[in-house]
Symmetry: D2
Subunit: 438 residues, 4 copies
């Protein structure tokens, strides 16, 4: 019996000049960049859901992908077949990590217990595949948004019974993540928000969500899990408003519930742009607030108002994002998870490879650009020099709280001179970036 990808050879690095479409042109996993290999910097992960669970459906049309594991067997048999095929893909692609939701890998059962047991069984299957292939789990998560029971939220549901069902799923997904050596655990609250304020008590819902996250953190510590707990911001979709709107909002939420030292953010490029920010803005914000955790790598479409989850393809844009990640010291236990899907019309097995190869190559090329920006050093030096005035003792005194408003005002009034502004040099700096990225 032939496998779904049996006609495709493992993907290898062949250099920029290769004419082979199913090869890497830039991602050379062992190439050393700023003291670490590309693989160590980028820690690529393939997500289970978009490539192995989604059937191409959109709000105006049914599935377009006809995968062998979508029908023709019992749910558990199909789940095993899906796992086999997914690992065939992972191995041939050569990304070191993968990510999953509980319901991606194991089917919902007729009862909570059956779902619980289905997951346990599939975790064994995944564990064997990991053992065999060396693949690792970047993070696990629980799907608390697809089933109709969660239509009004999970932790933020008006009904505490659903909070309980969510707790079961998260506990089990955390256990699965730990058993599989996962390096992080993610929570994305697609239904943790509201459709209309008319039926919503936002204060209650935030308190519920704060309590839920505290329970997760307590459990992590009790079990000795060393991975990072990550919240994934998204402003809206599916809900009209989601409470984890963006990194700055998540920071406020974490401080409100005492968790800003415990939880970080998993920033998705497309979620960033949907929230009215650039991707690098979200990275720089999370870095400034000390909560930069991991990346969901994809791109949105600047003309479309929903999550398109396309593979990234713009090197100069991505170079800025990676530059900010490197300046922040990297992602620690995080990585680059391709939360990206081939277009609905890309119905062939090869298309899954084209999408991921393109994405990995763009990231690798962007990493090389960012390396040049850092080695060159002019960008960082320009910023330091711009703020150099704040490193003087007089300015430090202000920041340290040793000068009051009216003391400072009186000093300025006594000196009685205006201050000339200096050019922000934006065009010069953009050209400097294009020296490496253009």
């Amino acid at each position: 019996m032939t496998s779904y990808f049996s006609h495709i050879a493992p993907i290898r690095y062949q250099g920029p000049a290769t004419d082979e479409a199913l090869a890497f042109r830039h991602y050379d996993k062992d190439r050393v960049v700023l003291g670490k290999t590309m693989a160590e910097h980028l820690r690529f992960a393939v997500c289970y859901w978009h490539s192995f669970c989604w059937n191409g459906l959109d709000p105006f049309g049914g599935g377009t992908f006809e995968r062998p594991w979508f029908q023709g067997g019992s749910p558990m048999e199909l789940a095993r077949q899906k796992a086999d095929t997914a690992f065939e893909f992972f191995e041939k692609l050569g990304a070191p990590y993968y990510c999953f939701h509980d319901r991606d890998v194991a089917p919902e059962g007729a009862t909570p217990k059956e779902s619980h047991e289905n997951l346990l069984r599939l975790v064994d299957v995944l564990g064997e595949h990991q053992q065999r292939t060396g693949m690792k789990l970047l993070w696990g998560t629980a799907n608390l948004f697809s089933h109709r029971r969660f239509m009004a939220g999970a932790a933020t549901n008006p009904d505490p019974e659903l909070f309980g069902l969510a707790a079961l799923q998260v506990r089990d997904a955390m256990d699965a993540t730990m058993r599989l050596g996962g390096e992080n655990y993610v929570l994305w609250g697609g239904r943790e928000g509201y459709e209309t304020l008319l039926n919503t008590d936002m204060g209650r819902e935030l308190d519920q969500m704060g309590r839920f996250l505290n329970m997760v953190v307590e459990y992590k510590h009790r079990k000795g899990f060393k991975g990072t707990i990550l919240l994934e911001p998204k402003p809206r979709e599916p809900s009209k408003h989601q409470y984890d709107f963006d990194s700055a909002t998540v920071y406020g939420f974490l401080t409100r519930y005492g968790l800003e030292k415990e939880v970080k953010v998993n920033i998705e490029a497309n979620h960033a742009t949907l929230s009215g920010h650039s991707f690098e803005h979200e990275i720089a914000t999370a870095a400034a607030l000390g909560i930069l955790g991991s990346i969901d790598m994809n791109r949105g479409d600047p003309q479309l108002g929903w999550d398109t989850d396309q593979f990234p393809n713009n090197v100069p844009e991505l170079a800025l994002a990676i530059y900010h990640i490197l300046q922040a010291g990297g992602l620690g236990s995080g990585g680059f998870n391709f939360d990206a899907k081939v277009r609905r019309q890309s119905i062939d097995a090869e298309d899954l490879f084209h999408g991921h190869i393109g994405g990995m190559d763009v990231c690798a090329r962007a990493l090389l650009v960012a390396e040049q920006m850092i080695v060159d050093g002019r960008l960082a030096a320009h910023v330091s020099q711009r703020y150099a005035g704040w490193d003087t003792p007089a300015a430090r005194e202000i920041l340290d709280g040793r000068v009051s408003l009216d003391q400072l005002a009186d000093r300025v009034l006594a000196r009685n001179t205006d201050v000339a502004p200096r050019s922000g040099r934006q065009e010069y700096l953009e050209n400097l970036v294009n020296r490496f990225a253009g």
Copy 2:
């Protein structure tokens, strides 16, 4: 000599049926609504800048308004003429409050000292007008965004000298506010953000802004000012990104710098929509986070991506906003400041009245709708009942932290039953609102 508004009689309440355009149809200041007069609920303020300083200029064209106080005298003479005219307008309109920036009322001088002294002199003029008319100051603020010296920010400027000049202006504007009996003090940071991350150190800038705000709060307490310090969120414009993006972001900023009990937000309708939220969302969020302070009343245009600052004109929308304010217990020392301007083509003196009369009438009508919603009680009851499950002892135990994640998970697993979702009843609730608003 005739005044600018001498041909316009004071505006009076004449009831819904009046055919007079220069009269209130709904705003009947002494009418009692839920135990307070309309005037006490709404605490309307007229802003100085849009109606008396702006000349109709936009990015593609010059001024269209030819006001007598725009030319033909020395800056200080014109400032006095502007003050006289503004108070003529305030008095004829019959809104009890006004608001200003330092530079709205007094011209920038050739030196910091001259600016300082110009403000002192004009504060005397304003004080006399207040005395004479009974007008009150809702809040004062400092303009730290129009002068070229602040092009790269005030508190967040890379140059500490500009932080100093900003401190002088804010100290003086706070002093002016206190002298005039102002009930709040506002900071809006139109340049406290960035144009490009390439020349920006966000961490430094946030720390500078945090320190500045702490200095303001310390000064307030030292001077015994009883008013509220308010930050006004806006996501962008003029800057590409502003740090006070929205209420949730401001909340995170306040907690980071220890100020969440000291500072509240002044929410502007148009700023809300520019940040990707509804106006009522921003109100409900600020209320849930305990930082709801005051309102800048206006509307944006849903098709335009910039701050249009139009007068509000949609009663059903505004009724929801006012409903949330009432549910939150009202605005305390805050009020409704019309941060709204007549369109650039509305060049006549009458147009200033039409804009404000329409805005006040829409708010008054919306207050009456909100009153009905509250008196009816079904909306609030529906929300309470929806969350009633959380008021049981078992649910309280979860929220109070007495149940761990796996305890709860195990209980749910043992019970092993699914939970049926209940209708969110959105259409029913929207119809219920339209019973009062439609």
Copy 3:
């Protein structure tokens, strides 16, 4: 055996004061407004797809509605059950019209012929229901976007075989529409556009679409169909770009292919706002260009970038839209089709009624407001007076082409005087609208 809506009594007009939620408060079908009954003005239609075919699925979650006709029988049996239930709903609601896609009413068969025959059979069923109930068909249409075969378009497909399959469906849907006495025929091209220009030849696709529409118009005339052919503009979604972007774009397309006298537009409120226009803009544009045909009544969410298809609920907004329709002389053979769906959480049978009742009442109330605006006459008079200068002989001469650019320029130069602008009076006019709508 009880029917799905057996617990719900027919909806009746009970007046604004009624406490009954399942009653009309404003829609009094026989009330005469400007010489026609409300029913004649509004010609309400219920759409088949949202209320009887959609199961509550969204891009992040599965179905939430558990309707009896979704499972438990053969596709044809379920289609009959669905038709019975739909007509029970139509009758109880009291809207005079309905609308459908071919695939809404009859299941896709295993072959084109089977699909063709399924539709024929169901048309008989619908015909009997129409006979029995007096319900009428506002328009029919063909679904050329849900099946995977049309993933790259129907008329604009790169493969002419798909154009052929689309022709079959449209021919059959037109035949069905004619047999059922439909008053219009609609084409919406959700996949007539592109996902990426990289694989698209726009010139070819426009020519294909132009040819297809000409074939439809020729067929209409040959068969003697008296109804209007309507294109429904939408800018994007599901495609990245759709060729029928908005009314102005459709007008250009129609002129390019010689069809501007043959085809009109079916304007959807939510499609209007997605294209960057207000609903009334699209109506006024289509009216000015002579292609205003019919309305898909719903609303979008100003914060969401996709088609939310909510029921309308804002009377002042809708009053402006209806005002423009009335000013344009009404919709002729068109009507108000509720292309609107209850929210995914509104899972009960009652919710379908609440959505439609609210929508119909809001339209009825808006019609009454528009009536007042027209009877009052000041709005229209203001516009006429504003352009009165163009009615002078000298101005007519310019418009009629009897003055050349340099003749006019020389006259103006000879006169050598500037012209003072006049106030646009926007705030006054907005207040005037609120006199009726507020």
Copy 4:
């Protein structure tokens, strides 16, 4: 006396490796690309307004640029000084073309006649500079949007007197363009639209605009002007809605007034994105409709809802745009006009050079990428093959109108087979582009 740019040496091509910031790294004007020099392909123009007239003002702050020609002399002296400085800049930069509005180069006078004469005098000055330097005029235009008299439009003004004043300005600006050997004439209607439909008669205004444009075309022919008349689409800003919304809308307008063979579009990148399209979409649309004329080169900010007019800096994006221009056969008499401005904080003389050098280099680099895409040929071949079915006789018969809807439907029904869709290969094609652009 030293000139404003005397400290800056002429900009030369120095190759990608140069360390000099004030040099071209990619724009090598004589380098041959696909049979023409870079200069011939790109036909760069510098615009007068952003670099020499704008003072850095934005809606929230005053000017930041302190140019010597902004004050200290009579308006005509300053205009001459501005012209001298502009040509010093043009010459040092080495772009072959420039563009201007009448009011950019000559001050508004106290009367129409004085304005007319001011322009005549400055045209002499410009002519001498052209003679001396070899600079050429890409296009001229008239500013019909900045003066308050045009606040309600020029050609679309409710007052025909304003139409007349606009005609004078356009006639004079066309004459100036012809005298200076301009290769095109542009009309951008920033106020040709509306602020509110409440005071607008759209049908009248479109007719006025159609008549105005016909007068322009008649004049062009009478004077024997060989250049192209160009309309510049923009969806909104400064008006709420502008009639020349995008290329497809302009096409419809042109056909309505019989001008689709006479007038083309000048597409601006930032206007494209403000209208909800990609830049390459607008180019491909105009090409498909036969109205592609010229380019206003700049970029917007995807997070900002207004015209930011930044210099382009993203090579992969621009490569797609230039690829579509080349595929359409180039721009003819059009060119690439930098309708771009340095940021308000870029206050130094050097910044004007950095902006333009970066923009020219990005375009040159993108041209080289597009050249590779074309030489490679796989992209174009992929598209041809995708539509190859339409080149068969059977398919041609359909397109040529020799098959009716029911003939085709009957054939398809008789054949009775479904058609399998084929992969759209989007990811493969995006990777192919990145082979050249990444």
